[in-house]
Every structure is written in structure tokens, then in C-alpha cells.
């Protein structure tokens, strides 16, 4: 059996570095209390508004389109405006989690709406992000029955709604929010999205829309909660 052979080989290789039981205990201890490694690019603690500014700057550099709106109720009309401005079809397949389920979709009658898993001919998909990471302009999505991950990959346009006060400094904080929002466990997939799909495989030139979306819009809604600085 390969399993026995591999473990015997590994244990043999490590036989010089202390007894197995002591190592098991040390590892269990480390797993229970993960070490604090130097965090990301943020450095000093930042105010929520600074995090948002940084987040938007990253999105712009990535070729994504940040759109700021005051309230979540404006999401449907913001989507209509975005699609109209780019001459895109007025069709949207949307997730149905978080606030997306209860939005005033009737305020956007021009929009043909669908829910559920994305289909091959869908033109635009809407997801709700659990968090945004200021460090790199990354959106953090959690999959689930009401938030199919295919929305982020099959349509040519991916639109993501993100609450302004869900923008955090680093991946560490964002993952903790994901776990908290999913009842203390990891969802089946956590998708960290940093710009639209791209490739540099032909002649070294970066081209958008390799297999996934060609464009990524981020609707940032609501106020930045004025609060004490968030730790980096």
C-alpha cells in the first residue's frame, strides 16, 4: 500500500528530528494556536475610509470598475446604468443571499432576472461579497445554495455587491468574516477574486476574459462605519 510506504518513508526521513509523539503534541498546539505572521501590505492601522480608498485604487489598477452608491436599495438601478453605459444585454442572473434577496428589483423593470446556477449563455452575473480586502483589491465570495460560484465564472460580466464597511485590511480578517457568516464553518468554496479573468499566454500580452469574465464591476454601497481604526 502506497499510504503505508509513504508514511514509513517520511517518518524514516524525520527520525533524526526528535520523537514522533513530542512532534505530534507540538503540532497540535500550533494548529490550535496559529502563529501571527507579519500581515499584508497595510502596515499601520487604517481608518475605514482609508481602507476603502486603497481598495478602490487597487480595483482601478486591476482594470475593474468600482461604482459607489449610497444605499443597497440603489443596486438594481446601478446595474441597469452600468449595463446600459456599455451597451450590454439587459439580462442578469443573480445570487439570492444576503441583501440581494430583498432588493427592490421592481425599480429596474428593464432587467430580465434569473436566479440559480449560471448557464452557458448568461451575459451577466451578480454576486454578493462577504468582504473586500484593501491589501490587494480582492473580493471574497462564499459559495452556498443561494450564492452559486458559477455566477463569478461563466458570464462575460461579473458584478459584485459589497458593503462599504465590509472592506477590511487583510485576507486574515476577511476569512474570519466568511467563517462567521457561514455559521462557524468554511463554505464549500471561498473565491478570492482580484480583477477579471486574464491571460498573458499569447505573446506575453495581458488580455482580459480568458475563460471567465471580461469585466468586473464592484458596487460599493452604504456608509463607511465611522469607528476606531481597524488593526492591520
Amino acid at each position: 500500500m502506497s499510504r503505508e510506504r509513504i508514511f514509513a518513508g517520511v517518518r524514516e526521513a524525520l527520525s533524526g528530528s526528535g520523537n514522533g509523539r513530542a512532534r505530534s503534541r507540538a503540532v497540535a498546539e500550533r494548529l490550535a494556536n496559529p502563529p501571527l505572521h507579519p500581515a499584508g501590505a497595510t502596515g499601520a492601522p487604517m481608518l475605514p475610509v482609508e481602507l476603502a480608498t486603497r481598495f478602490k485604487a487597487h480595483l482601478q489598477r486591476l482594470g475593474a470598475d468600482p461604482v459607489e452608491i449610497a444605499r443597497e436599495g440603489e443596486i438594481p438601478s446601478a446595474i441597469v446604468n452600468y449595463l446600459t453605459a456599455r451597451g450590454l444585454p439587459m439580462r442578469l442572473r443573480r445570487a439570492n443571499d444576503g441583501p440581494l434577496a430583498s432588493l427592490p428589483w421592481e425599480t429596474a423593470p428593464a432587467l430580465t432576472l434569473d436566479t440559480g446556477s449560471a448557464k452557458a449563455d448568461d451575459t451577466a452575473g451578480l454576486s454578493h461579497a462577504v468582504a473586500g480586502v484593501a491589501e490587494t483589491g480582492t473580493l471574497v465570495l462564499a459559495s452556498g445554495p443561494e450564492s452559486p460560484l458559477t455566477l463569478a465564472f461563466l458570464p462575460e460580466t461579473h458584478i459584485v455587491a459589497l458593503k462599504a464597511d465590509a472592506i477590511v485590511a487583510c485576507y486574515e480578517e476577511a476569512l474570519a468574516m466568511v467563517v462567521a457568516s457561514c455559521g462557524g464553518r468554511l463554505p464549500r468554496t471561498v473565491n478570492l477574486v482580484t480583477g477579471a479573468s486574464r491571460t498573458g499566454d499569447i505573446g506575453g500580452k495581458i488580455v482580459m476574459g480568458a475563460h471567465g469574465p471580461r469585466r468586473l464591476a464592484v458596487l460599493i454601497y452604504g456608509p463607511h462605519t465611522p469607528s476606531v481604526p481597524v488593526s492591520a
Binding site: 502506497s2 499510504r3 510506504r5 509513504i6 508514511f7 518513508g9 517520511v10 517518518r11 524514516e12 526521513a13 524525520l14 514522533g20 512532534r23 505530534s24 507540538a26 503540532v27 500550533r30 494548529l31 496559529p34 502563529p35 501571527l36 505572521h37 507579519p38 500581515a39 501590505a41 440559480g116 446556477s117 452557458a120 490587494t136 483589491g137 459559495s143 452556498g144 445554495p145 460560484l149 458559477t150 465564472f153 461563466l154 487583510c170 485576507y171 486574515e172 468554511l186 464549500r188 468554496t189 471561498v190 473565491n191 478570492l192 482580484t194 479573468s197 486574464r198 498573458g200 499566454d201 499569447i202 505573446g203 506575453g204 500580452k205 488580455v207 476574459g209 480568458a210 475563460h211 471567465g212
Partner: protein, 478 residues
């Protein structure tokens, strides 16, 4: 795997290959400049490298415990973990899974481990329609080649080569279609591959990391092809190797912060996906089964050897981008799955040392690979170890090298004879060079002087100059 003479012929061919040279000339402006920018924007980059090195060393020193923990948690999450000692085991396990799933079409995202065990070729022989979905990897597949770089498989191709390959492969499309720009080519490949994504019964991905604390796999791409590969078919197979395990997410973030920055200069690749098991109750999509195949293939031997630090590698490819040899000959000339400095160290251990130990000679020992490695692998001393091992094996080349080294050692151990020989050599070379101070031809150095002059010594040996300075210092005390 190549032998020495094939390697030498491949180097000569690569140097004479003008299109390849043009393609390689872009590496400094692309990846190298990108990494430099990314590093400049992250002040704690070098501190992170030390952290990453320590994390990887800690994992390797406790690999058995982390693998057991991973297996237990992955199983709890609903995945099936399989262990493969070698390529044959892994191929058999994967073919079995495909057969049980009744698979006809199999999509694959990029995985160097799959290249290592020639998985695609093997599955194709079993009559499966296997499609690489990373664009670079797809191009390499339809041209019947191997990847020439671990993160940019088609880096050896230019735009014209790609158009030609697509026209040949997609003969069902109109022959007069416009295919001039990379955009047009990508649109075409996207449409063709989209059909495959939707038709696939099994999707095979690699994994950049396995997370012990949760039994998750982390898979990184820029195209999003791994996500379509693992989400649309009813079976997802993760093929990876045992050193990819990482204790916790807290340990994975520093590695992820370094990975894309070192590879392409991006702060993070477009899609970083944490996947934990198959579809869950209530999910309307996702695979019904998730299999994780963990390959050894020589790695436990590496773990036991003085080459253990090579297992720290997170496969960013920076050592290739910065290597003057790689940038001169490209990846194919190496004839090994992993090219460049990391390949020269890793390949002999995976494929049997006799086959590829000579790859270690493809280095100037300039040390740039080691300077840019995100996990601080001492690549130069590891290359040197392979050279030493190669030298101790009986072969015509090693006999000649050993005889020369022995002669030099005899001389070096006798200071008086050494000084005399050095003096003689210097005088001869100075005389031969005449007034110009350069030699157009030198005895035993025709390989060097064919392309450039040899600077002649400046009259005296180092030891003579040193002795003279000491005399002067004594005469003029300061």
C-alpha cells in the same frame, strides 16, 4: 529525460533558434520587471521571505503529522484522499476514478505534478478526450509539446506561432477568419474550450497548497479555468504532491503574498480559490465527488537527504526568469519537466540521478536564483551538490574532470610549485597578448575565445603583487 550529449545538442539548437531567442528576450521586461515592482511596493517583502522559509521548514520537519491531519480533515469534509508512491500509482488511481465515473471528456487545469507523471498522455491512451484548459497549456498540447516554463507554459511561442497552431487545430472553423491579434485568438480558444468545460465528466486540477487544519485545497489561476474545471463536472480530482501541505490558513497567507508577486509581479493572481470537499446539501452545483491524490515520487528520499530545502519550493518560477542560462536556452533544452535552476536541482531526484545530474552544469553560479527565491532555497549550493555527485560517478566526462581537478589539487597543495606555475603561466599569457593586453586565442580555451577575447594578466601574479605591496607598506609606515 535527456543524456548529456542530447542536452548539449539542445543548447546549441536553442541558441541558434531565432524565434525562440526573440521570445526569451521579453522575459526581463515582463516577469523580472513585474517582480521588482511588486517587491518595491511591499516594504516587508524580504521579511516575508524569511517567514515563508521558516513556515516551509517547519512543515517539512513535521510532514507526517501534517499529512495525517490533512487526511483526517479532508475526509471529514467529504473528500477521498488517495496516496501514490509514484507516477504509475497515481495514473492508475486517476484512471480508475475516470472509468468509474463513466468519463469521456476530462478537463484539466495546469498542474506540474501531472506533467511529472505524464498524466494527460496516459489518459489519452485509455481513449479519454483530455483537454488542457490553461491557454498556454492548451497551446502546448495542440502543438504536441511540453511546457517550457512552469507558470507560462507557452513562453517560447510568438503570436504568429499561436495563430498557426490554432488554425491547424480548429479546422472546423472558416479558414478565412480574422486571427491577427491575441484578443482574437483568445476569443476563439475561449469558445472552443467552453464547449469542453460544459461537456466534461471529470475535472482535474493541481493544488498550490493543501490546508491541514481544514482539509481544503487552494488553487490559483489568472484565467479562472481551474474554477470551471472543478465546478462543472460531476467529479473533481485534485492531483498534488505531499510537500504542498500547509498547517493553517494563517500560514498560507504569507506564502500567497509571495507567490504571485514572485511569479508575475501581481499582488495576487486573479482567482485564488479555497475548496473544501464536494457539493453540500442544498447546493445546486459543484461536483458530487472530490478526490485528492497525493504523490510522493521521490520526495521522501529528498526529505531524508541534504537536499531537503528544495521541498520548500512553491513553484513561482522566479528562479527561471532571473536565470541567465534559462533566458538564453529556454525551458525545452533542459529536457526535464521542471526547467531552470529549481528544475536542475529537483529533476534528478524525481527521475533518477543518472538521467539528469548534468543539468546542474547549466548554471554560472551567479546566484540570482537564490536571491529571488521566495522561500530562500540555497539553489547554488544544491546545484553544486549535484555536480559533486555527478563527478563521483564513472563516465568519460567525469574521468577527464577528475584528472584535471586532481592535477590542480596536487599543485595547490604545494605552494612553491604553485607559485612557480602561476608565474610561468602569467608570463606566457602576457607575452602572447602583446601590446593589446587581450588574447584572441588561448591554449585549451577555444570555446571561450571563439566568441570573445580573453583579457591577459597584467604582468604579475596576485601573490607577487601582494608581496610587493607588503614591502611598500613596511617601507612607508603610516
Amino acid at each position: 529525460m535527456t543524456d548529456r550529449s542530447t542536452f548539449e545538442a539542445a543548447i546549441a539548437a536553442a541558441l541558434a533558434d531565432e524565434p525562440l531567442q526573440l521570445a526569451l528576450a521579453d522575459v526581463p521586461a515582463g516577469f523580472v520587471a513585474g517582480r521588482q515592482r511588486a517587491r518595491a511596493e511591499l516594504p516587508q517583502f524580504d521579511r516575508l521571505r524569511r517567514t515563508a522559509r521558516d513556515i516551509r521548514d517547519h512543515i517539512l520537519a513535521n510532514l507526517d503529522v501534517y499529512l495525517e491531519t490533512f487526511e483526517a480533515n479532508a475526509t471529514k469534509a467529504g473528500s477521498q484522499v488517495h496516496w501514490a508512491s509514484n507516477g504509475e500509482d497515481a495514473r492508475r488511481i486517476i484512471l480508475d476514478i475516470c472509468r468509474k465515473a463513466g468519463a469521456r471528456v476530462v478537463t484539466k487545469s495546469k498542474s506540474m505534478v501531472s506533467e511529472e507523471i505524464e498524466l494527460r498522455e496516459h489518459l489519452e491512451k485509455a481513449s479519454l478526450d483530455v483537454v488542457e484548459t490553461d491557454l498556454g497549456e492548451y497551446l502546448v498540447q495542440i502543438r504536441g509539446e511540453r511546457p517550457s516554463h512552469i507558470i507560462a507554459p507557452a513562453i517560447h511561442l510568438r503570436v504568429g506561432d499561436v495563430a498557426k497552431a490554432l488554425r491547424l487545430q480548429h479546422s472546423h472553423l472558416p479558414g478565412d477568419r480574422e486571427l491577427e491579434t491575441p484578443e482574437a485568438m483568445i476569443t476563439e480558444a475561449r469558445q472552443v474550450l467552453r464547449e469542453k468545460f460544459l461537456a466534461a465528466d471529470v475535472g482535474i486540477t493541481g493544488a498550490n497548497f493543501l490546508i491541514a487544519e481544514s482539509g481544503s485545497a487552494i488553487i490559483v489561476t489568472n484565467e479562472g479555468n481551474a474554477d470551471l474545471t472543478m465546478s462543472l463536472p460531476k467529479v473533481h480530482i485534485v492531483l498534488t504532491s505531499l510537500e504542498k501541505v500547509v498547517p493553517t490558513f494563517a500560514d498560507a497567507w504569507p506564502l500567497l503574498r509571495l507567490l504571485a508577486r514572485s511569479a508575475t509581479g501581481q499582488a495576487l493572481s486573479a482567482y485564488t480559490t479555497i475548496v473544501t470537499g464536494p457539493r453540500r446539501q442544498g447546493d445546486g452545483e459543484g461536483p458530487e465527488a472530490c478526490h485528492i491524490v497525493i504523490l510522493d515520487n521521490g520526495r521522501t528520499e529528498l526529505l531524508a537527504s541534504d537536499l531537503r530545502p528544495v521541498l520548500r519550493c512553491i513553484r513561482c518560477g522566479a528562479c527561471m526568469n532571473y536565470c541567465p542560462i534559462y533566458c538564453s536556452i529556454g525551458g525545452h533544452a533542459y529536457g526535464s519537466v521542471y526547467p531552470g535552476p529549481i528544475g536542475a536541482v529537483l529533476s534528478p531526484a524525481l527521475g533518477g540521478p543518472s538521467a539528469t545530474a548534468h543539468l546542474a552544469e547549466a548554471s554560472t553560479f551567479c546566484g540570482r536564483c537564490e536571491e529571488v527565491c521566495p522561500v530562500e532555497i540555497p539553489l547554488v549550493s544544491m546545484l553544486r551538490k549535484w555536480r559533486m555527485r555527478d563527478l563521483s560517478r564513472p563516465s568519460p566526462t567525469s574521468r577527464k574532470s577528475r584528472a584535471l581537478l586532481r592535477a590542480w589539487a596536487i599543485l595547490a597543495a604545494r605552494p612553491r610549485a604553485y607559485r612557480m606555475a602561476a608565474r610561468l603561466g602569467v608570463r606566457v599569457l602576457t607575452t602572447l597578448s602583446g601590446r593589446h593586453g587581450r588574447l584572441r586565442r588561448a591554449p585549451f580555451a577555444s570555446a571561450w575565445t571563439r566568441y570573445r577575447d580573453l583579457p591577459a594578466p597584467e604582468g604579475r601574479t596576485f601573490q607577487e603583487q601582494w608581496a610587493r605591496r607588503k614591502r611598500i607598506d613596511r617601507a612607508e609606515p603610516t
